[in-house]
């Protein structure tokens, strides 16, 4: 470091750390981030308050690892790797975002000890890789699949949803929400298209009043003077300007020499709009949903024709609506016969709390549904949405890959045992790394216990003993009773995909950080 500054190789303000220093800096950073989210892990994990730096100073309360890490500003490059990995975990499987960071952090903590014992980082990486392969094989062998049995599969899904939700704010009503989430996912019939599930948040009421609606709810208003209830609706979903239909030919402008002409052109414009509305009505519809604004003139015309017109449904809304109603999104209206219209049994205005929403029921495509969340404050609702999103993602992954494992630290204890056995057969320093890997795996259930205020050493040791005595043991951490418990009886299940991703991503992240022996920070860009 001193050397490079003397000879002025790097620009001013840049720093370079080498060897031990660099490794130390990255370990410290990564472990600090891991410790930050550590306390949110498990059913008794605590939440964090995040206050945004922007002017509104908005507050978010969450225990979702990805959300926390996304919102904090980290300067340490190694910490950024961990933040990144939790983001990917979120994108890829939607849950386990905290676990992956804690696991990577534990791996690095162990690696630091090994490095201090003069084990070369490359040797540690080699050991970690082998241990990871072994752990993965064990995880795979421990997974079970009930997809063939619909009844059993549903129970599995319910249990997974409950396990995921139990660490979130929805834990009080986890039974209710687990059912909700499983129903929603089952409606997708394996298509895994989460876009068809619409979540609407409305403050007021209690969380328990949240419900799943079979139809589709659009948070919009019906135009003035138009029917509020339509049966056997024929719906045209459109994306077209309904204010003034501008001429798109480049450079066109109006230049007139008298007021009379202005009036004429205005009339022509209105006329154009009238024809448009007429051609829309000619489709034989009784409901018209547009992505863009609908001005008063066309609105009035629709009202006259007895057509319900809904304006300004945003793009996502439109796409989802088109998907649900089975119609196409239309932008030209000259060939009414060829346009596929959407349809549904009933459209009506409903009240949720104090807001009026539009409810489409009896829709063609049975996949879609809407979940309406109720809660006392917007913070609760947001956290509830995040939790529900996590649960839905996990369920979706499980539907795609039906393999399921027990939760509550069961897979970790099992993997740790296998890795330790592997270590005892492996010659050389790699074995040390494998043992470290096993310890890092065990740190996950230990953290769950610690967060619940339990004696982690005692419980993990008991689990270890139980698994050692019986290789098909189903023991895991029972947080409620504070002891080792049978995971099958407690119904604590997790998705195999999530656990596997945690294992792989965590190992990969720690490997990347371990490989670093030189840390160069360029001079921060000057901001004017």
């Amino acid at each position: 470091m001193a050397m490079s500054q003397q000879s002025g190789i790097l620009s001013q303000g840049a720093t370079e750390e080498r060897g031990e220093n660099a490794r130390m800096a990255s370990f410290v950073g990564a472990v600090a981030v891991a410790d930050l989210v550590k306390s949110t892990l498990g059913p008794k994990g605590m939440d964090k308050i995040l206050q945004s730096m922007s002017r509104g100073q908005e507050v978010t309360i969450t225990n979702d690892g990805a959300t926390i890490l996304k919102s904090i500003y980290v300067d340490n490059p190694a910490a950024k790797v961990l933040v990144d990995i939790s983001k990917v975990q979120d994108d890829e499987v939607g849950d386990g975002t905290t676990s992956v960071v804690v696991f990577a952090g534990e791996l690095l903590r162990e690696a630091e000890l090994l490095v201090n014992q003069k084990v070369h980082p490359m040797t540690i990486i080699a050991g970690y890789r082998e241990a990871c392969d072994c752990a993965r094989a064990v995880l795979e062998s421990g997974a079970f699949n009930h997809q063939a049995d619909a009844e059993q599969f549903r129970t599995d899904l319910l249990n997974i949803a409950k396990t995921t939700l139990s660490s979130k704010i929805l834990t009080v009503d986890k039974e209710h929400f687990a059912n909700l989430a499983v129903d929603a996912i089952m409606r997708l019939k394996g298509s895994g298209n989460l876009e068809a599930i619409h979540i609407i948040k409305k403050t007021g009421g209690t969380l328990h009043e949240s419900f799943l609606d079979q139809g589709f709810i659009l948070d919009k208003k019906i135009g003035v003077g138009q029917p509020k209830r339509i049966e056997n609706a024929r719906i045209l979903v459109a994306n077209t300007p309904m204010d003034t239909d501008k001429i798109k030919i480049y450079g066109a402008r109006v230049r007139v020499d008298s007021m009379a002409k202005v009036a004429e052109i205005e009339a022509a414009e209105k006329d154009k709009m009238r024809t448009k509305v007429r051609s829309i009505i000619d489709h034989g519809i009784n409901c018209f949903v547009n992505r863009q604004l609908i001005y008063n003139l066309p609105e009035e015309m629709f009202a006259d024709a007895g057509v319900m017109a809904i304006e300004h449904a945003d793009f996502d809304g439109i796409e989802r609506l088109a998907l649900v109603l089975g119609g196409e999104i239309v932008s030209t209206f000259d060939n009414p016969s060829e346009v596929k219209l959407g349809s549904c049994k009933l459209i009506e205005e409903i009240m949720i709390g104090e807001d009026r929403l539009i409810h489409f029921s009896g829709v063609a495509l049975g996949e879609a549904c809407t979940i309406v969340l109720r809660g006392a404050s917007s913070h609760i609702l947001e956290e509830a949405e995040r939790s529900l999103h996590d649960a839905l993602c996990v369920l979706k992954e499980t539907v795609a890959d039906a393999r399921v494992v027990y939760g509550g630290g069961w897979p970790e204890i099992r993997m740790a045992k296998a890795v330790e056995e592997l270590a005892s057969r492996t010659p050389g320093k790699k074995a040390l790394a494998m043992e470290a890997f096993a310890r890092a795996l065990r740190a996950l259930p230990a953290t769950i216990c610690d967060n619940a205020g339990l004696d982690s050493a005692e419980i993990v040791a008991n689990l270890k003993a139980a698994h050692g005595a019986d290789s098909s043991s189903r023991m895991g951490v029972d947080v409620v009773r504070g002891e080792a418990g049978d995971m099958k009886e407690l119904g604590i299940y997790e998705s195999f995909r999530v656990r596997q991703q945690v294992l792989l991503s965590g190992t990969e992240a720690s490997e990347i950080i371990l490989r670093v022996d030189d840390l160069i920070k360029c001079a921060p860009r000057q901001r004017g």
Binding site: M3, R253, V330
Partner: protein
């Protein structure tokens, strides 16, 4: 110093404002330059070889890059020093020319300069050192030609190529999966290679990546992947055996480049214009349909109305496709790029076996995979990785491996790696040095010493005792006259690089020697560095 005297003995100043400029002269200047170059080389030294470590680089904006690719490290280090910049250039030119060995060349240059310092202390003139280096470099490259072996491969027998790529990849983050990755690279190169002309157009290989998934999911698409989706959400997501039209004109009313105004002053004109506009859209879409196209790929945007019309006419379309992709698509499908709707005819269409929209994970990202094109000349390597940093690093590693495969297609002569070639060259140079009298003798000997810096660094990074392993190998090479012996970095128990399948291309190695010697010469020739001391 910057004070001179004219013929009348009056002093005059050559360099103004002394205090504002800093200046180093003579041997001091050479030494300062060497110092700077050495520092840069030292940073890279620990990244050499299969057990080389990574560097973590934080950009001025706070983005983090983790890599052990020499060229990337130096590029992102933002080296300020002028001599340091020379080293950066050095590694870059190796990257452009060969694509691999970017770390090795810098380490070699650093070692050459470091050893030159000792010679300077002996009172040798820098230029004589440079000349000696030149002579030594010639001997070394001749030796490379002597020890090189040809190695054979064909489209059917790709095994040798795969093995070479594996050597390159073993030092990277993908080391765990070097076999499948190497196969992907080789297949990609062979797919686009012109074995007759011994040429590979790397533009035809695209390396696309998407964060998420596992490294194992990386695959070779015999076609093209574009980071776009169909323009209308309700267009079919999968097409088979379609005729493709490639357009570079927007589905919008025309915009003449000359400035103009269309004045509307009567109702008739207003209506006429309205009809004209409508006609434009129907006309455009109809022309596409009439030509027989079943998929439209457009470089520009679509108007909402045009978009719907396309959907309506059952004509799936993709918009905002970048220029490079357009060209690739044109090459692969055999379609002509059409700049105007009027010129779209049936014979300008291309073919695609299958076009699919693929989604990833829980996010809404989608990509289009176009496969089964008649002209298989374009391929895409689609990379997946745990996070952005891994992904970027995999991309860089694959690029290196692809370059190696390309070099072998161009010229299939190889030398063995693991420092074997360097040691052999060092021996040859030492032998040649003994026949030379004069100052060059020393310089050549020094060159031989510097060459050994590469195996030394390799051994050091692999955790072996550097000097012992090097001397042991050197002794064996001398005794057995076997230029295939190198440092056993992977701890496999043999020093024979033939058995370990560690080899490099001769062109790459030669380039390293040439470039390193050249840079050395350039740096040694500097005897005066003048720069403004501080800007402020």
């Amino acid at each position: 110093m910057s004070l001179a005297f004219d013929e009348f003995g009056r002093p005059f100043i050559i360099l103004r404002e002394q205090e504002r400029k800093s200046r180093v002269k003579g041997i001091e200047a050479v030494k300062a330059s060497i110092m700077a170059a050495k520092t840069v080389a030292r940073t890279l030294r620990s990244s050499l070889g299969p057990k080389g470590m990574d560097k973590m680089l934080q950009s001025p904006d706070g983005d983090v890059t983790i890599t052990n690719d020499g060229a990337t490290i130096l590029e992102m280090m933002e080296v300020e020093n002028q001599i340091g910049k020379l080293m950066v250039e050095l590694s870059k030119s190796q990257d452009h020319e060969i694509g691999d060995g970017t770390t090795g060349v810098v380490v070699l240059a650093g070692a050459l300069l470091e050893h030159a310092e000792a010679l300077l202390d002996m009172g040798m003139h820098p230029l004589r050192i440079a000349e000696g280096y030149e002579m030594a470099c010639k001997v070394a490259t001749e030796n490379l030609d002597k020890i090189k072996t040809r190695f054979d491969f064909s489209k059917e027998n790709i095994e040798p190529l795969v093995k070479t790529c594996m050597t390159t990849l073993s030092s990277k983050v993908v080391g765990r999966l070097k076999r499948p990755m190497a196969e992907i690279c080789v297949k990609a190169v062979l797919a686009v290679a012109d074995l007759e002309r011994r040429d590979v157009n790397l533009d035809l290989i695209k390396v696309e990546g998407k964060v998420g998934g596992k490294m194992e999911d990386t695959r070779l698409v015999e076609g093209i992947v574009i980071d776009k989706e169909f323009s209308h959400p309700q267009m079919p997501k999968e097409l088979n055996d379609v005729k493709v039209a490639i357009l570079t004109c927007p589905f919008e009313p025309p915009k003449p480049k000359t400035k103009h105004k269309v004045d509307i002053d009567t109702v008739e004109k207003f209506e006429a214009l309205r009809d004209a506009e409508k006609a434009y859209f129907t006309d455009m879409v109809q022309r596409c349909k009439d030509s027989g196209a079943e998929l439209v790929i457009c470089q520009w945007g679509f108007d909402d109305e045009a978009n719907h019309l396309l959907m309506h006419k059952n004509l799936p379309a993709v918009r905002w496709v970048g220029g490079v992709e357009i060209e690739l698509l044109a090459m692969a499908t055999g379609a002509r790029i059409v700049p105007r709707f009027q010129e779209l005819t049936a014979d300008k269409l291309g073919m695609a076996g299958s076009v699919k929209e693929v989604g990833f994970g829980t996010t809404k990202d989608k990509m289009l995979v176009i496969e089964g094109c008649p002209n298989l000349k374009a391929v895409t390597i689609f990379v997946r990785g745990g996070n952005r940093m891994v992904l970027d690093e995999i991309k860089r590693s694959l690029h290196d491996a692809i370059c190696v495969a390309r070099n072998l297609v161009r010229d299939n002569a190889i030398v063995y790696g693991g420092g074997a070639a360097e040691i052999s060259c060092a021996l040859a140079v030492e032998e040649a040095a003994d026949k030379v009298t004069g100052v060059e003798h020393y310089a050549m000997r020094t060159f031989a010493d510097a060459l050994q810096a590469v195996p030394l660094a390799l051994a050091e990074n692999s955790g072996l005792p550097p000097i012992e392993s090097l001397t042991a190998v050197k002794k064996r090479q001398l005794e057995e006259k076997n230029p295939y012996l190198g440092i056993d970095c992977n701890d496999t128990g043999t020093n024979d690089m033939r058995e370990q399948n560690v080899f490099e291309t001769v062109i790459g190695k030669k380039q390293q020697l040439f470039l390193a010697t050249q840079v050395c010469k350039m740096i040694l020739k500097i005897d005066d560095v003048i720069k403004p001391s501080e800007y402020d």
